[in-house]
Symmetry: none
Subunit: 417 residues, 2 copies
Amino acid sequence: MSAEIICVGTELLLGDILNSNSQYLARELADLGIPHYYQTVVGDNPERLQQVLAIASERSELLIFTGGLGPTPDDLTTEAIADFFGVPLIEQAEIIEDIAKKFAQRGRQMVSSNYKQALIPKGATILPNLRGTAPGIMWQPRPNLTILTFPGVPAEMHQMWKETAVPYLKTQGWGQEIIYSRTLKFWGIGESTLAEKVASFLELDNPTVAPYAGKGQVRLRISARASTEAEAQKLIEPVAEQLQQIGGADYFGVNEDTLASVVGQLLNEADETLGVAESCTGGGLGSMLTDISGSSNYFLGGVMAYDNSVKASVLGVNSSDLYTVGAVSKPVAMQMAAGVRSLLSSSWGLSITGIAGPSGGTETKPVGLVYIGLAKPDGTVECFKYQLGQNRSRSSIRQISACHALDQLRRSLLSRA
Amino acid sequence: MSAEIICVGTELLLGDILNSNSQYLARELADLGIPHYYQTVVGDNPERLQQVLAIASERSELLIFTGGLGPTPDDLTTEAIADFFGVPLIEQAEIIEDIAKKFAQRGRQMVSSNYKQALIPKGATILPNLRGTAPGIMWQPRPNLTILTFPGVPAEMHQMWKETAVPYLKTQGWGQEIIYSRTLKFWGIGESTLAEKVASFLELDNPTVAPYAGKGQVRLRISARASTEAEAQKLIEPVAEQLQQIGGADYFGVNEDTLASVVGQLLNEADETLGVAESCTGGGLGSMLTDISGSSNYFLGGVMAYDNSVKASVLGVNSSDLYTVGAVSKPVAMQMAAGVRSLLSSSWGLSITGIAGPSGGTETKPVGLVYIGLAKPDGTVECFKYQLGQNRSRSSIRQISACHALDQLRRSLLSRA
């Protein structure tokens, strides 16, 4: 019994988009312990889609399609599948109702092409789409063959997979032995350094431990095979504890935790507030913080002090410092942090000033030079200097700078405990 | 004559890595005008790899493999391919020499498993790897079938593709005709509505026109086949002009343009500046604006007025309005925009206040309700109300709100011209 992933979309063949849906589904299937041996990408072409379907249905028992459920003429996944099995499409009144409702909510009119999305093969069950207009199907066109279809939009697909498809598959006997994973997250240590520190764990069999890295963050994924989640957790727990200990202060969280969410928890526990002052990140730090629902409990706001005039007039940075040592400097970072803390009457003030590039670097202040200022509840101010390297992209320097700022606040919050 | 991409690697089936190699090769094939209709991922398993090879060699004339060329026992791509065609593997002295040299450069000793990488099918040509130890092959195992193999490491594969494989393919008659594309971008119109308006264009053969949508933005991609870029542009130009005209004010840019970059160009041309005041987006609008290198020419900065106290104390929003009509309201949006314009002495002030959810919605102010305020150079202030629907995620509401704000500024900048 194995599954197979089939992604439909000419944009994938043209290289316009990265196939993140395959990776998402592959990881989900692995977590459910459902083997899968093939992934296929095919364009919006009914004959070729049916050729792929013919091959896949001979070698796998669960076919997962993504893409091609939209309202335009090139969206033809459902039609091609029904046609392959010689089954007519039936218009579902409840889908039309649902689409009309969603359009109404957005103050728009449903157009005739949307009716196409209400057609599903006779005998198939609707796989509802809560976020978008295109529903999928769950269908057994013949014994020992299950077909699931999802739209290509990742957010819609993920929600449909988790909330409808997985419970359905479990009732069908799929995914009985589970693989349960826990991901430990680290900031401030490189992947190879961490991998060396935990080398003996990478040899384990159950649970397995695997390192991943990206955008300055390193993760260790601990995966255990077991018949229940409790059993898997029992295997994972001691390993996680040891890895966490080895990571020390570089370990910051688990699974869905982000630096912003961890800082938020710590601020909540301390009943303290935060204000930020951003130059090169221009709002990116505030955006990370407010990405967390409930951040209004501790995040008051801040100032995007992109132009020097704003640093001086709104944050009270000394104009002569801006002139003599420049905006990307220790004194300015510290005054920005102290300035926003005072302006907003927040417990903490956190600032970033740096050179994100690609232009604007000099010999003494190269692209990637970043100063983080941290004004603390006791009124003292600290400064941290980073040299992020000149080969990183503008967006990567901005993103990593904001994470370093959050990380310094995290370490400072923790060190008081 | 078409190509097919086959990526070999169990790590892809486990979802451990994103398949960026497929996207890279897909884009390269599109640029070379080499059609390709299928992509397959298969694990490090010789029987299944040969099954995929059997299918692919029946329907395509150029098979491009990535992955499975390393020194470990699970790297078996070359062996499985040779075995499929019944051809012996021959050890190549020049590969062993090359690997030994590379190991010496890194101060390491070649180990016995590396000898495996020197085996290539009899009759195949070495596809040299300048960056790593694993070479690929270029091989015609039978007439009208060409096989290329590459290691899975993206940087090695890219270099080998560009410097060796592409010139080789051109001598074989591949890639003579190119496909050139232009993408037109629209904001403020749905995919299905735009698709209906341009329905007749979607039937064209050369150039083709295809709609894509995501995160509130709709794109039309115009792709022309021709023997030179100039010729392709000549085919694209009249179609692009007509589509642009149909799009009207909803059309905002082309190819790499973003709403933020287009607004930046318009502000630069007008020699005007911008300040922003953000509540629910918490810095996301500023972050989009400063993602553009050179934005310091027109973007002064802004205020993340997340907490009401900041709206009142820093932006001068009337406290009784915050109390009576609430932070998510027309008067507050307008006062935020006017407030930041005055605080920063900018030409324009742009504000966002809304309910990003998932909590915080009420019957009269549901999740997804967003007000955009726009304070203009002449001192007048406008307000725009959006109802983004309650099914969207927090991050999607925040992202779309920031785009709507940029779009309103764009329309206002354009309407003066």
